[in-house]
Amino acid sequence: MRTGRFPALLAMCVGLAAPAAADGQIRLRDFVITEGASLEGYLGNFAAITVPQIDSTEKAVAGVGEVSVRGILRLMGRENQTVDVAFDGGIRQFATGGFQLRNYAPREHSGSVETMYQRLIRSGTLTAQTGARLRSISDRPPLPIYLSPGYDRYTAGVSYLHRGLFDLGVEGEIADYLAPKVQPALDLLDRSSLVVNAGIRKIYRSAAELDRDDYWGLRAFSSYSYHSYPQQGEGSPRIDHALGAGAAFQGRWERLSLELTLEGTRSRSTSLRVEYNAARLNGRADWILGENTQIGLLGTLARKRFIQPDQDALVAGEEADNASILYAELTRHLGDRVSGAFRFGWQKVETNISGAYYTRFGGSFFLRVRPWN
């Protein structure tokens, strides 16, 4: 694990905040400290190229403790332009059981900072954003416990929304996965991407009740993605060109908000064996059950089919073809500054070729404190 990355992220935050702080403009929009504990179970016989450790067990459990801090700073808030910085950082410690060889104790560090500049111009809104996300993990366990590897990821993008109807955006990303000497395969995941997306949207409000906070809307969008994997491919790097299209529904009413997104991707590559068509359905709902109780639901269905009919090799980082994900969180507000939440989650990830899969399920409790609410 490279050292000094997280202090560098902190220095970046300070560097961004300092000029605004000097002007006295800086304002903390939100700040929350979260502590959590989870109990999780894992089943399956899945294999991933980037997880070299192997254990013959198909059942494992983990107890997890975590603490994180998250917030949003408004560096500038003028009538027609704003600058916000969102930050998020935390640590998560696992204690695992059920492995044949030995039980692992993975520890994750994660931190991100994102700066967003928004400006209202004559006929629309211009948004520019940059972000950095750093993640590291020590003592990464074998499957069926799947934990993402560590990486440094940097993004920058600009988008424009014209008259609230048309949007166009470009975003670039560089992801560098942290490959220790014993796990060189992680370098295969290194990626540079450029994504162009365009959409058209329409927001509706009922004629009789034009409450400005309630609405529903539709958006149709399409995208072109360029992904370069310099460590993959023999002789020449793997380059993917993907076309995407989809539609999204979003609505918000007094006690309910709902989001549904369906998107399809057609990915073609310089490496024929990784060409595929994919579809993904994402759903999100939040429902206020009472004065102090709220429930959130989030689900994803992802399906992928390779073009080559006899595709039987794993693709690094994309070893699975299908994923089903469902999470629910019940939150109870215990006052203006404190809330408690129970989260229940289930994931199933599987391949088409060998029937390999892993399932993750479990429950968590979170205590969240907003000291300066």
Binding site: R29, D30, T34, G36, S68, Q81, T82, D88, G90, S110, E114, M116, Q118, G124, T125, Y146, S148, G157, R191, V195, I203, R205, A207, E209, L210, D211, R212, D213, Y215, G217, S223, H227, A242, G244, S257, T265, Y276, R280, D286, I288, Q294, G296, L298, T300, A302, K304, G317, E318, E319, D321, N322, A323, S339, R343, G345, Q347, V349, F366, R368, R370
Partner: protein, 303 residues
């Protein structure tokens, strides 16, 4: 006389530029402007309500036919399906026309309400100036008129807000400054006390309205933050990341999602502004209550 909408700010500007005691003629002109806008407002509101009823008729008929269409399709009734399709085609033109008319009528009503509110505000401003300059008790009708126009203003704002949604932020209206003159009698001071008490009642209404709005926004903010917490708990440690197709082209938004209609102003700013306004209102109520007590003490000493 028809007064164009731009005549209101012009008239206010002319009065402000004069800076002189307000002429009764100006008061009369402004009353005429208010009356004119009242007429236009009533017509626009009635037109909107009629258009809404028409649209509602076509909309419910459309929904009814759609349901029948679904049933006919499920029953494989081809003849009925074709028949309903033809009816839907005919109805769609009428429905589109009604929807378009409704939008136009809504805009007209909105414009008329803006004009009437501006005219009433100008008239109240003028009334305040008049009250400040008139010897207290010399014209008791002034207070009645002030109350009449203030009441009407709140009525129009409430009516349009209920039907068309909130269009403008609440603000403190100007009110005349009351002082006891050396030659004021007990009766004149009591008149001023009633005036002050009336203002306190109005401000208390404003304060409770603001409390309601603040509570509504705070609930919304709590909801948004809980949503963000849920997202962050899944994304912060890549809990939701699985080795499938990488997502692309997603844009991460910072902060609350209320900015759907491009308003850059986040919820906490709106809450802070309304809270500041409510504090001003409460402070003004406190000042007025102190003044009432002072006036009551002074009235007891006067003949």
């Amino acid at each position: 006389m028809k007064c164009p909408r731009w005549s209101v700010p012009l008239l206010i500007g002319a009065l402000a530029a004069a800076g002189a005691p307000v002429a009764l003629g100006a008061q009369g002109n402004l009353s005429q402007v208010v009356d004119d806008w009242e007429g236009r407002y009533e017509v626009a509101r009635d037109n909107y309500q009629a258009a809404y009823q028409e649209w509602e008729y076509y909309e419910s008929r459309w929904q009814q036919l759609m349901e029948e269409f679904g049933r006919a399709q499920a029953a494989d009734d081809e003849r009925r399906t074709t028949e309903i399709l033809a009816q839907l085609q005919d109805l769609s033109q009428e429905r589109d026309r009604a929807e378009s008319a409704l939008r136009i009528r809504k805009d007209e009503w909105h414009d008329a309400s803006e004009g009437l509110i501006s005219a009433l505000e100008a008239r109240i401003e003028l009334q305040v100036q008049q009250m400040e300059r008139s010897p207290v008790g010399s014209n008791p009708d002034l207070l009645d008129e002030y109350n009449l126009y203030s009441g009407r203003l709140r009525e129009v704002e409430s009516e349009t807000e209920t039907e068309l949604g909130p269009r403008r932020e609440l603000e403190l209206r100007p009110m005349p400054d009351m002082q006891i003159q050396p030659d004021d009698t007990r009766g004149e001071i009591n008149f001023k006390i009633r005036n002050l008490q009336n203002r306190i009642t109005v401000l208390e209404d404003v304060s409770s309205e603001l409390d309601g709005k603040i509570a509504q926004l705070e609930n919304r903010q709590r909801w948004e933050r809980t949503r963000d917490d849920f997202d962050a708990s899944l994304q912060g440690f890549d809990v939701i990341v699985v080795p499938v197709t990488p997502r692309s082209g997603t844009t991460t938004a910072v902060g609350d999602t209320t900015a759907v209609d491009l308003a850059l102003e986040p919820l906490e700013t709106r809450i802070a502004r309304l809270t500041g306004l409510r504090d001003d209102v409460l402070e003004r109520i406190e000042q007025l209550e102190e003044k009432v007590e002072d006036f009551q003490r002074e009235a007891e000493r006067r003949p």
